[in-house]
């Protein structure tokens, strides 16, 4: 959509540029994430313990989970800011249904379906009514959170079955790895395969690089976007279920504000806010980097205000830096061209 994206469309680049792309921002973020983990383990007291890694992964999970479909959405050049509110509304409804005596096995799929429906509403506004996704999802962000408060008010529903809540907070075999990492890994693999190894993924990049070109190439752009919003909503719904079970508390304010962390992780991971660029491994590394920095700073008694500042700053840097690099490259190219013209 942007000029930078147009100048190097993903579809026409073939294998070598794909490798080249991986060798740039995404790899840098992966290296940064690993470095951050290593530095924090060495420098921050109490960071490098197995228990802390469990905490870190648990805090990271909802963000990473929601970031998976968000990556698709942002790569197509759109955004979904309603995910945290979808999570909250799902959680509130889950509490209501649980209180009404429905079985948890019925409630959980219902909640995922609810998330999908909420996502479909976003998709309808964006693709059928052709409204800008930023405005639509800011609207539904407020709408869904408001509905959550209507459903549950300031009440909390607790008492979810212990077998579920302890699985969600537990670790695999009592070790370091939280059980919750299993659904994340499964979904990450699925999303990663779809994005990087199927025609669907290439369509997503095509739409993000140039929507018009994609349409001329025969891609049903609006249909694709609609389904991405449905998936985004469904995953947010799943995150709402897991969130509720993790804190054994269904509340309307669950997940408040995590869209900031999700978008920050996606952009930090090298996805261009203008669409057409980015990889899923990069996004996951972005989520790990963000969680590591926050965990380490919290252990150093950095206040929560400062943590918000850090998240915000990382978000801005991750939008700013690629732009600066791109314009620097473009300027360099122009200069070279001028020099060559001068010679010729």
């Amino acid at each position: 959509m942007s000029e930078a994206a147009l100048s190097e469309p993903a579809l026409t680049r073939g294998r070598a540029p794909w490798v080249q792309r991986l060798a740039s921002w995404d790899t840098a973020v992966i290296v940064l994430a690993v470095l951050a983990l290593l530095i924090a383990s060495g420098a921050v007291h109490n960071f490098g313990t197995s228990r802390n890694f469990t905490f870190l992964l648990l805090d990271l999970l909802p963000v990473a989970l929601v970031a998976l479909p968000m990556t698709f959405v942002i790569v197509t050049g759109e955004i979904d800011l309603s995910v945290a509110s979808t999570l909250g509304l799902t959680s509130a409804v889950m509490g209501l249904l649980w209180d009404s005596g429905l079985s948890i096995e019925t409630i959980m799929p219902l909640c995922v379906v609810l998330g999908a429906v909420l996502g479909a509403l976003n998709g309808f506004f964006v693709t059928v009514l052709k409204l800008p996704s930023l405005a639509v999802t800011i609207g539904t962000m407020a709408l869904y959170r408001g509905l959550a408060l209507v459903v549950l008010g300031d009440q909390a529903v607790a008492g979810f079955p212990r077998s579920y809540t302890s699985w969600v907070t537990g670790t695999v075999g009592g070790g370091v790895v939280p059980n919750l990492l299993i659904p994340l890994v499964v979904l990450a693999l699925a999303f990663g395969l779809v994005l990087h190894a199927t025609p669907v993924g290439r369509k997503v990049y095509a739409v993000g690089s140039s929507e018009q070109a994609a349409r001329f190439a025969g891609i049903r752009v609006r249909q694709l976007k609609f389904w991405l919003y449905v998936v985004s909503g469904a995953v947010a719904g799943l995150a709402g279920v897991l969130w509720t079970l993790r804190y054994s508390s269904a509340r309307a304010d669950n997940g408040f504000g995590i869209e900031l962390a999700v978008v920050a992780a996606v952009l930090l991971g090298g996805v261009s806010i203008f669409g057409g660029k980015g990889t899923l491994p990069g996004v996951l590394a972005g989520a790990v980097l963000l969680a590591t920095v926050q965990n380490a700073l919290r252990l150093q008694d950095v206040s929560s205000e400062a943590l918000n500042i850090v998240t915000g700053a990382l978000l801005i840097i991750s939008v700013l830096l690629p732009n600066i690099v791109n314009s620097a490259r473009a300027a360099l190219r122009r200069r070279r061209a001028v020099i060559q013209e001068g010679k010729g």
């Binding site: 109490n46 960071f47 313990t49 228990r51 802390n52 905490f55 805090d59 005596g101 429905l102 079985s103 948890i104 096995e105 019925t106 959980m108 799929p109 909640c111 995922v112 379906v113 909390a156 607790a158 008492g159 079955p161 212990r162 077998s163 579920y164 499964v186 979904l187 699925a190 779809v194 199927t198 025609p199 669907v200 369509k203 025969g218 891609i219 049903r220 249909q223 694709l224 389904w227 449905v230 998936v231 469904a234 799943l238 279920v241 969130w243 993790r246 804190y247 054994s248 508390s249 509340r251 304010d253 669950n254 997940g255 408040f256 504000g257 919290r298 252990l299 008694d301 929560s304 918000n308």
Partner: protein, 357 residues
Amino acid sequence: MTTMTSRLLAGVLVAGLVGSLAACGGTTKDSAGANSGGTQSTAAADPNAAAKQGVKMAFLPKQLNNPYSDIEVSGGKTALEELKGEYKLVGPNDASASSQVSYINTLIQQQQDVIGIAANDSNAVCPSLNQARGAGVKVVAFDSDAARDCRDVFVNQASTQGIGDKLVELASKLAGGSGEVAILSATPNATNQNAWIEVVRADLAKPEHSGLKLVKIAYGNDDDQKSFQEAQGLLQSYPNLKVIISPTTVGIAAAARYLSSSSYKGKVALTGLGTPNQLREYVKNGTVTEFALWKPADVGYLAAYAGVALASGQITGAQGQKFKAGRLGDYTIGANGEIVLGPPTVFDSANIDNFTF
């Protein structure tokens, strides 16, 4: 290809669904049964054990930068200075349920001895608090309780009975033992206020208060303007009214403002729960004679002493155990590990200038 698009995406969706359906059966609210987690400590307490020095206690209020909780934790700081402990204050910016959990986890990692927490959600913090207790950290809930089985003790600012009794005592004194009384409350479904009003009703039904007659309960919805208008309405509807009881800080301030500007000033008495800063002006100009509130700083102070007593093994949280809490004197743990701060403090023209909250 569009069908393939939808099929693949639908596949991902279905995978999510199937994932969440992994377990079969049918666990409902009724079959899940009691969801009790950790246990109360069973270790024996040694009331004569020396108070440990250097106890590291972290306070985790509902939210940072809230004026009320700032005062509460300042009391904790004072107490830990007296006890030569290490005070620390951490907390989230938003009062959402789950934001405290990351902080509890951090405190576990930092190997604090005691966590003092005002829980945003009594259940959401539970698994983490029990993890903390499993790691040897003592947990003192203050102000707002965590679920009973995931903290050692709860420091309650005041018992419902204590507040209701104090309100009636003040009203009776101000009315001179007989006359019409009205209540200006918060919202009709405010939990705390309704509990106190129930106690007030029960007390008024007792023979020693037979001269007092409760004529009306008005609701100002904790909105300044609405409370102001409701106060005005009470005086117009009940010309013989002697006392207004307002068990909410918003209501009492609005009623005081109305009274002080009306001809009822000095004739109709006002009492209830308010802060000295709100009502100083009205105490000085004679609108308000006496009102009450617990001292927020004492809540934190008592929580810190309870925390150090736990860490020193003087108490374990069982009913009937006793400990000393500095200038507040001796305390005994009540049922369910609850420690009640005591009756609310009464403020009047003689002492109001000693308080700045």
